[in-house]
């Protein structure tokens, strides 16, 4: 009998060992994912109903605060004075539906017994310009400071009003959330960084970089004037935008955004070099961003996938096919060209303060009488995307786009040199009713870059689907650059 009893004891010890393993799985191994889960935020009522610190913009505008109420079940109401301007950055703070974004990520600081405050890098003046310039159209606008990676504006349509989600009437808030959840365009998600889209010709920045760095392309390269080109392994010809004839040297084909030269370049680079090249830009890697749920840009295939399908690689060379880029990521790519090939980590939290009561926002800045700062987000390099010489070549080509290329119509500011690239991502095969995303990505001043801007208009309306990136997104980018450059003076 004792033998059996010993076996049984061992069996129980093994069973408890399994419990221990699973315990460490939840509490250590998978902890981060569980802690970050947006549903992991139910608060008990007392903790919910306490004053909470403010969130302020870099130019001193309060965008989230707690106000005292006289009536109702709770004493403290979270308020978002700017309404639907910042929901994707502040997030919302609720009892029953959890909290999101900074309200969630900075919860310990904001809800501490002495509430702290959060200052974001975003400038309220630019954010307002972004919203006004998009004029209700689905899409997003991002402005990034080239030298620091700080996000100065990041606005997405459709948006929502966090005040309605945070209202204490659970039924009204739930009804509002139901409407938001039912919307196919997903207003709760910021399409600036939580969605990814086909980049169209803006992707030619990457193709050109990889071409120059692998030697498949030089500044002296020229391409034949042609209307159609049949890539290897297929019978289907590739055409330029609107079936035009297009060719010339690198500066010209970049400026006019011909498709065939970049298709040829992609094939000349070859699958493994090309995929290695896009990886240097951080495609298929998590964007290191300090908000929740940043999407991952994807090239849509591995080198092996393209080995037998060079035609597909050719299409990817000008940003069509299964390649998808997050708008914020495109802004960082553009900023890396401006920054001599160094891509910084984008960030939206500028500083955090230990005591909200000491923080004085206003007069275009945020100050604190005594040193109260918990943390200043450091400038951090994410990756090096290209050599400085390549960046210089690209800058010249991109300047051509605004001087006499696809953005000449709409992105010129007197006295300012602007480098840009447009994109018109065609969502349907030729022949069908056309739908496309309109892109523009730019930086200025070209000789001493300060700001990078990426505007993307989703192909959800007739107007956008009929236009090109330069004509539609260009004016939005222009207004943002004007405001950014003026505000800095």
């Amino acid at each position: 009998m004792n033998q059996r009893i010993r076996h049984l004891t061992v069996a129980f010890v093994v069973l408890f060992g399994i419990l221990f393993m699973q315990l460490s799985n939840w509490q250590v191994v998978r902890r981060d994912a569980l802690v970050r889960d947006s549903r992991n935020n139910t608060l008990d009522r007392e903790r919910f109903d306490s004053p909470r610190g403010r969130i302020v913009t870099a130019d001193g505008v309060v965008i989230a605060e707690s106000v005292e109420k006289d009536t109702g079940e709770f004493r403290w109401q979270r308020r978002y004075p700017a309404g639907d301007l910042y929901p994707h950055i502040t997030g919302h703070y609720t009892l029953s539906f959890g909290s999101t974004q900074l309200e969630h990520l900075e919860r310990r600081l904001l809800s501490a017994s002495t509430p702290g405050a959060v200052e974001v890098t975003v400038r309220d003046d630019l954010q307002r310009v972004a919203q006004a310039a998009l004029a209700g159209r689905d899409g997003s606008a991002v402005v990034v400071e080239v030298a620091t990676g700080a996000v100065l504006a990041m606005y997405s349509n459709p948006t929502y009003d966090p005040n309605q989600v945070a209202q204490h009437s659970g039924a009204a808030a739930e009804a509002y959330l139901e409407v938001l959840n039912a919307d196919p365009e997903k207003p709760l998600l910021a399409n600036a960084f939580q969605e990814r889209y086909m980049p169209g010709s803006t992707f030619k920045i990457l193709t050109t970089t990889i071409g120059l760095e692998t030697g498949a392309l030089t500044t002296a390269s020229t391409f034949p004037n042609e209307r159609r080109w049949v890539p290897p392994n297929t019978d289907n010809p590739i055409q330029n935008y609107a079936g035009k004839t297009c060719g010339g040297d690198l500066a010209e084909v970049f400026r006019r955004s011909c498709n065939i030269p970049f298709a040829r370049t992609a094939v000349a680079i070859g699958p493994s070099e090309f995929v290695a090249g896009v990886n240097r830009f951080g495609l298929d890697q998590t964007l290191p961003f300090d908000l929740q749920g940043a999407a991952t840009s994807t090239f849509g295939g591995t080198a092996g996938d393209f080995d037998n399908s060079l035609a597909l690689l050719a299409i990817h060379g000008f940003g069509q096919g299964s390649v998808q880029v997050v708008p914020l990521h495109m802004a960082m790519i553009t900023a890396s060209v401006a920054n001599g090939g160094v891509m910084l980590e984008p960030r939206v939290v500028k500083r955090t303060f230990a005591d909200d009561a000491l923080v004085i926002p206003g007069n275009g800045t945020v100050s604190s009488p005594i040193d109260n700062i918990v943390r200043t987000t450091p400038v951090r390099q994410w990756r090096r995307t290209m050599a400085a010489t390549t960046a210089a070549t690209l800058t010249t080509s991109m300047e051509g786009v605004t001087q006499s290329g696809t953005a000449a119509c709409c992105l010129q500011i007197p006295g300012v040199r602007i480098a840009a690239k447009t994109g018109t991502a065609q969502l349907n095969p030729e022949g069908e009713k056309q739908r496309s995303h309109a892109w523009i990505t730019a930086f200025a001043p070209a000789e001493a870059p300060k700001y990078a801007v990426t505007v993307m208009l989703k192909g959800t309306s007739e107007e956008i689907s009929a236009g090109t990136g330069g004509r539609l997104a260009g004016p939005v980018a222009r207004q943002l650059l004007v405001a950014a450059l003026n505000g800095a003076q």
Partner: protein
């Protein structure tokens, strides 16, 4: 009365026990102070006597063990005190009203422990009651089904209400059935083994020897399934299979038993909606967050928030997990004490199970071996089922966590289990002449009465 100055092994063991119980008291009191100190809890100073009462109970238990079972294992009582104390502090930290009642249950539980220790002088005496145990056990199992007495709470009809008292008779039935199984198998295990005949390539015992066990087991499982109490069904099943296996030393029973269990579980999956739903929630609670998956997912969130070191007693939000004081108390521990604290609790259970098994190993008579194995198996399986349910190792079934969960029936019945284990380890110590044999309490009373009669004459 017996001399209080102990010698030899008895003295060493009781000293160890005294030291460990004192440490358990310091630990529980410290934990209580930490929870009290946190601004997030609203524990009042007026309730401090409750904690002190529980500490005093362990002291009392130790003194009585010293008197009536001085050769007993030194580890059993302190380990239980640690578990009971941790659970008590967590319950007190969650809500004052539960702390009040849990104190009452603690008094009743330790009271039951002392009563069993005093009343059961010789474990072997229990053998005489085997059929009574079977009868009483089955009656208790059926009791919740009686209209007017039984009622359903939390989806399981396992409660009985008599006057002002509500209790779960199944918690006590498990002990009675373990006593019956032990006594019956002790008596007939040779018969069962020798009467084997081959059928379809299997060695099968004659049915008439197994019949009472099969009936008892079948009925308990059926009743439990009828009452939708799957965790308890599994417990009874394991108890039956394990005791049969240990008694007969035939691995075949383990194989057949496990096969039967798998077949039964599969059938239950297809027959009962609530079983299917439990399994579905187990496999994917995430997509059912707004509904049946809420509780398990909140528990995982809580534990993840606790991380390696925990949020600290009183600093977490375990009240966000439904039934955090009861079935899910382990999640509350994980959240506030972290993986370190939860692992320590697991280690305490391993120690307890190990101590129980040591009682079985050392026991000199088969009945005691079997009873100790049975009782320890109940403890181990019940602990595994509920912690495994919380950690999503197995589908969740609502059983209490021994000594930690809130609830009278659970606490009292587990203290009875502890008393039996203590009593058996003491009996073994006497058997092995590690401590001098002293008369039991009832014998002492009888002797004293006889002496009085003598002197009167």
């Amino acid at each position: 009365m017996a001399d209080l100055t102990l010698t030899g092994a008895a003295r060493a063991r009781r000293r160890t026990e005294a030291g460990l119980v004192a440490m358990a008291c310091v630990f529980a009191a410290g934990a209580y102070a930490l929870a009290y100190d946190s601004p997030r809890t609203d524990m009042s100073l007026a309730r401090l006597p409750l904690m002190l009462t529980v500490l005093a109970l362990w002291g009392l238990a130790h003194l009585v063990v010293r008197r009536v079972a001085n050769g007993a294992d030194a580890l059993l009582l302190p380990v239980v005190a640690v578990l009971h104390g941790t659970g008590f502090v967590m319950i007190a930290r969650l809500a004052n009203k539960w702390a009040d009642l849990q104190t009452v249950w603690s008094v009743v539980g330790v009271g039951a422990f002392l009563a069993v220790l005093v009343l059961v002088d010789r474990p072997l005496d229990l053998r005489r009651w085997q059929w009574t145990c079977l009868g009483a056990g089955l009656v208790l199992l059926v009791l919740p089904m009686v209209p007017g007495l039984g009622f359903t709470s939390g989806g399981a009809r396992i409660w009985v209400s008599i006057g002002p008292i509500n209790f779960q008779p199944g918690e006590f039935a498990k002990i009675l059935l373990a006593v019956f199984f032990a006594a019956y198998l002790d008596e007939r295990r040779t018969l069962i083994v020798q009467s084997e005949h081959r059928l379809w390539g299997l060695n099968l015992p004659e049915m008439r020897h197994l019949a009472p066990i099969a009936v008892a087991w079948g009925l308990s499982v059926l009743v439990m399934v009828g009452q939708r109490d799957l965790g308890s069904s599994l417990m009874f099943f394991s108890l039956f299979v394990v005791m049969l296996w240990v008694a007969t030393e035939k691995t075949g029973y383990l194989v057949v038993g496990s096969a039967l269990f798998l077949a039964g579980a599969t059938a239950a999956y297809f027959l009962f909606d609530h079983v299917r739903s439990r399994v579905e929630v187990w496999l994917d609670p995430w997509s059912r967050f707004t509904d049946r998956g809420y509780q398990p997912v909140k528990a995982l969130f809580g534990m993840a928030n606790g991380g390696l070191w925990g949020e600290g007693l009183g600093n977490g939000q375990p009240s966000a997990i439904p039934a955090a004081h009861n079935d899910f108390i382990f999640a509350a521990i994980g959240e506030e004490l972290g993986m370190m604290g939860a692992a320590a609790v697991l280690a305490a259970y391993v120690l307890l199970v190990g101590a129980g098994m040591r009682v079985a190993l050392r026991a000199q008579r088969d009945f005691e071996k079997l009873l100790a194995v049975g009782l320890t198996t109940i403890l181990a399986v019940q602990t595994f089922v509920i912690i495994g349910g919380v950690l999503r190792v197995v589908p969740l079934t609502g059983v209490t966590l021994p000594f930690m969960s809130y609830g009278g029936s659970s606490l009292v019945s587990n203290y009875v289990v502890l008393a039996l284990l203590v009593r058996m380890s003491d009996a073994t110590a006497r058997e092995l002449r590690e401590v001098p044999s002293i008369p039991g309490v009832r014998e002492r009373v009888a002797m004293r009465l006889a002496q009085r009669r003598e002197t009167r004459r």
